[in-house]
Assembly symmetry: C2
Homo-oligomer: 395 residues x 2
Amino acid sequence: MNSFDFYSPTKFVFGKDREKEVGSYVKEFGGTKVLIHYGGGSAVRSGLIDTVKKSLDEHGISYCELGGVKPNPRDTLVYEGIELARKEKIDFILAVGGGSIIDSAKAIAMGVPYDGDFWDFYSGKQAKEALSVGTVLTIAAAGSEGSGDSVITKVDGMLKRGAGSDVIRPRFSVMDPALTQTLPAYQTACGATDIMAHVFERYFTNTTEVEVTDRLCEALLLTMIKETPRVIEDPNNYQARANIMWAGTVAHTNIVGVGRDQDWNSHGIEHELSALYDCAHGAGLAVIMPAWMDFISEHHDGNVMRLCQMATRVFGCEMDFEDPMATAKAGIHCFREFLHSIGMPINFAELGAKEEDIPALVEKFGLGDGRTGGFVRLSSEDVAEIYRIAAKAEL
Amino acid sequence: MNSFDFYSPTKFVFGKDREKEVGSYVKEFGGTKVLIHYGGGSAVRSGLIDTVKKSLDEHGISYCELGGVKPNPRDTLVYEGIELARKEKIDFILAVGGGSIIDSAKAIAMGVPYDGDFWDFYSGKQAKEALSVGTVLTIAAAGSEGSGDSVITKVDGMLKRGAGSDVIRPRFSVMDPALTQTLPAYQTACGATDIMAHVFERYFTNTTEVEVTDRLCEALLLTMIKETPRVIEDPNNYQARANIMWAGTVAHTNIVGVGRDQDWNSHGIEHELSALYDCAHGAGLAVIMPAWMDFISEHHDGNVMRLCQMATRVFGCEMDFEDPMATAKAGIHCFREFLHSIGMPINFAELGAKEEDIPALVEKFGLGDGRTGGFVRLSSEDVAEIYRIAAKAEL
């Protein structure tokens, strides 16, 4: 196990109708003038924004609002939000929505007190301060409600880049699983895939003797495998929604990842897909992550044993002691079958991606002659090979 | 799944030699005048207190000290600490040691700004404010380094009672697994038992459809079952110590307990043993917890299935589909075997308790005609029966 810091100060307020209490948490964490940040019209149409405003009114908190955040949130709206927040002397950003909206809110929160261009924080600079952020979560997926991370897309060049800092960890996150019940099956499955990917990125490690985080990773994966099909079958299954929603948060607080090196190549490789095709991040991961597993199974001896651990403990495969590679492959196959069963694409055609774009994707990935990744160090050619495996994958 | 709040704002600083950084964290969380609180002489003899003082000096933080905390920490020293802290205008309590010392530090922290008797907080009153507490943990057991709980023994009557409030959650906890390597095998095993008990108290629930916390509980139990024997065999196994230490903290942040009713009867029933005999809390739990499982297996249909889940998922028993009770009993037997294998007592004689004291223990438990517990509601007669099962238990 490696040395680590673990810090997850967000207060999670979980359960049915708890969005009605949001004003009290804004007050508890010192907000007096709020920017309500949201996406398309659904949060307005469903009455959620009105519920939030009513609660803010009840606690004497004033607010203005900025909607229009899109999936793969754009820098252009962030600049607009920063300008508005400065003009209105906002001291608290309240994100009402899913990961894209929370990520956009975090970007605005860092940008307001910063003299330079907020994009600096998405180009390697560390933010030292930010306005307080709170969330009312409506999609279980990104884990942004409990993380210090944010991913924004620069429209000029469609560059998708991340920032990370403790200063953008939400002060509180209100999580009502019932709010996710209106989410269509496809988006629900995308979210579930993203959650599982967040765990897998941490699960595949070269750090030995981290039993506790291994087991915690497996706990979340087992939860997702049980609960996701229940939600796909019955979108109104509150209990299954609740388990998925909380698993998604726990996954991305990093409690399942501390003390170990992590990989994160699949996320990086996927980002180029969603940036180019504007597909859902989860759908892209469904195509890339098993392809990455296929690739690594052939390129490092130790990987086979880790894939066998996944296959047996997570997917319930029998260990083939005479042929561990067969077990590893069985585990990957189970993962693809699971993804297919919940309606996810498993190859380029199903995703709407094109094999002929692979050189452009690799170029944009921007690795050049370098290598990247925590588990297996990939070259540009390796990345291209993963895209090729992903392009052609079949059950 | 029930609605819940989850709030664990403690910053955990984990790894070898990280106690050398303690001054920077006191400073980060606003401490200027520190009370260093510790136990017997071992923290002084080992040089740990000097290391702490050196780090505080480096950051220009002044301090005074109060040692002498004993296992099952007493109210008498708390009163002394409150008086000292007020006189010295202390603004930060730094606990250096295990759960007893941290619990004592929390009591002092609540007592200093409070006009009345600090014991009020151990008699049902909720603390609204407290001095900041930080910890340098030396024993993996109680989980107090990440919890809002404290247990203190009132010398007058040897009453052992608990307090709970978010205001006493440590601001930071420095956790160096190497510091636990000098702990004798018996105390190490007591700590491991306490950690497992903290999980079991949450595992046994009547709340249905909490897959995520079920699985997280099992993750920690599996970790303890793997790592504890490795530490008993080799006290200097840093990696196993690290896994146990972190599992103990995760267990008691309540992340494995949110969204469900919890039981906590075994802890209550054990507290009377350690209060009367001054035995280690973990040793008392080793005697009581399996006895409680024996008792509940006979007194509630649903319990058998939950015990079967424990038996199969945690202890690797085969499910006997023709005779679930046999599986339940096999799980309890595995638990007692495990406890015995790490040197824990499994009955009154091995603990040093006496069967003839059972009426007095029940009397002190103080249930009267009431009932208690979250999983199975126990009467005084039930509690007596659990003590009787515990008294006579054999492998």
